[in-house]
Amino acid sequence: MRRLRTVTLLALSAATVLALLAWAGEEKKADHPQMTPAQMKEMFSKCYMCKNMVPYMDKAWYPTLSWEIYNLKNGMIMIEHVGDKSGMAEYKTLFASFEKAGNEVRKWSEADAKKQLCEHCQGMFSLMKAGAVDDWVLTKDGSVGFFVSDKPETVKMIHAQADNMRQMMGLE
């Protein structure tokens, strides 16, 4: 249950970042600077996890989200900050909806995941399937999530996912 929650939240983070970067593309040339908010919404709507963000993408607090992603020797940790604290109540609702969707995704087969998740969320799904332990908790200004494993090959996968996320979010 927590794993799914993590996946969901991670997906949310990544999607949010993507959206944010694309949307705020004037300031940061992100991976999808050519995308308009409408295009981003359309893209997110296609992913079972990311679509949970769509109702919040027009909110004032949404573009104030920021992230930190750190490698751990046995995994990674992700910190998400809501810059505009007035958005925390809605952020918690979003967190809960991701948790709910994540619990459903957890029951899926890999084929289902491939069909209904974006590439990023598929990556998170793969980590879970590989047996990574994850957890995600709300903080005063957002949330903290992590993936860890005692299997070196899974840790390698987690680090690769962390690299992808940092690249996608322009956090290098």
């Binding site: 940790i77 910190i79 900050h81 709300l138 005063k140 903290v144």
Partner: protein, 179 residues
């Protein structure tokens, strides 16, 4: 080394919390006089000075930012996350400098025998060191808003120890897990 670093950062967090609580008590206890606060501060400094790790914080206890450091101690299903937040980003550099000093002190403690270390650390830092010795995964690093420590374990008895430690930390810091 990372375990010790964690212990240091945790120690710092606890200290900061304790001092913060004592100092910020003015909000709830407006009758606390300046003299009383100064006395408390002196007591804390004296206490911290006795711990090889915590004493790294003493030079910073004269600053206002030190007393306003924020903390979050969150239970994970297999461990604990501790976040220390420099509330005024202007002093983030100083905060990080202090963390580095603590890390160095932890490195020194690591070269000591268990017995030597026991006599030179406060109870909290001893508890952290003990978790490290029992095989817990402990890592800490500087963040954009302060520092973060995560400790995890796959051993239920270690997880219980971590959660117990987290309860004591929250109690000491006057904070709760709920967000």
């Amino acid at each position: 080394m990372k375990k010790l670093r964690l212990a240091l950062i945790l120690g710092l967090g606890l200290i900061a919390l304790a001092s913060l609580l004592a100092w910020a008590a003015e909000g709830e206890k407006p009758q606390m006089t300046k003299e009383k606060m100064a006395e408390k501060k002196m007591q804390m400094k004296a206490e911290f000075s006795k711990c090889h790790v915590c004493k790294s914080m003493v030079p910073y206890m004269e600053t206002e930012w030190w007393w306003s450091t924020g903390h979050e101690v969150l239970d994970l299903k297999n461990g604990v996350v501790v976040m220390h937040l420099a509330t005024d980003k202007k002093y983030l550099g100083d905060f990080h400098k202090m963390c580095s000093a603590m890390e160095m002190a932890i490195g020194e403690v690591k070269t000591m025998t268990e017995k030597e270390a026991q006599g030179k650390m406060c109870q909290h830092c001893q508890d952290m060191a003990s978790l490290g010795r029992s095989g817990a995964n402990m890592e800490s690093f500087l963040t954009q808003s302060g520092s973060l420590m995560v400790m995890t374990s796959d051993k239920p008895e270690n997880i219980q120890k971590m959660h117990d430690l987290a309860v004591r930390m929250r109690q000491m810091l006057g904070i709760s897990q709920s967000n």
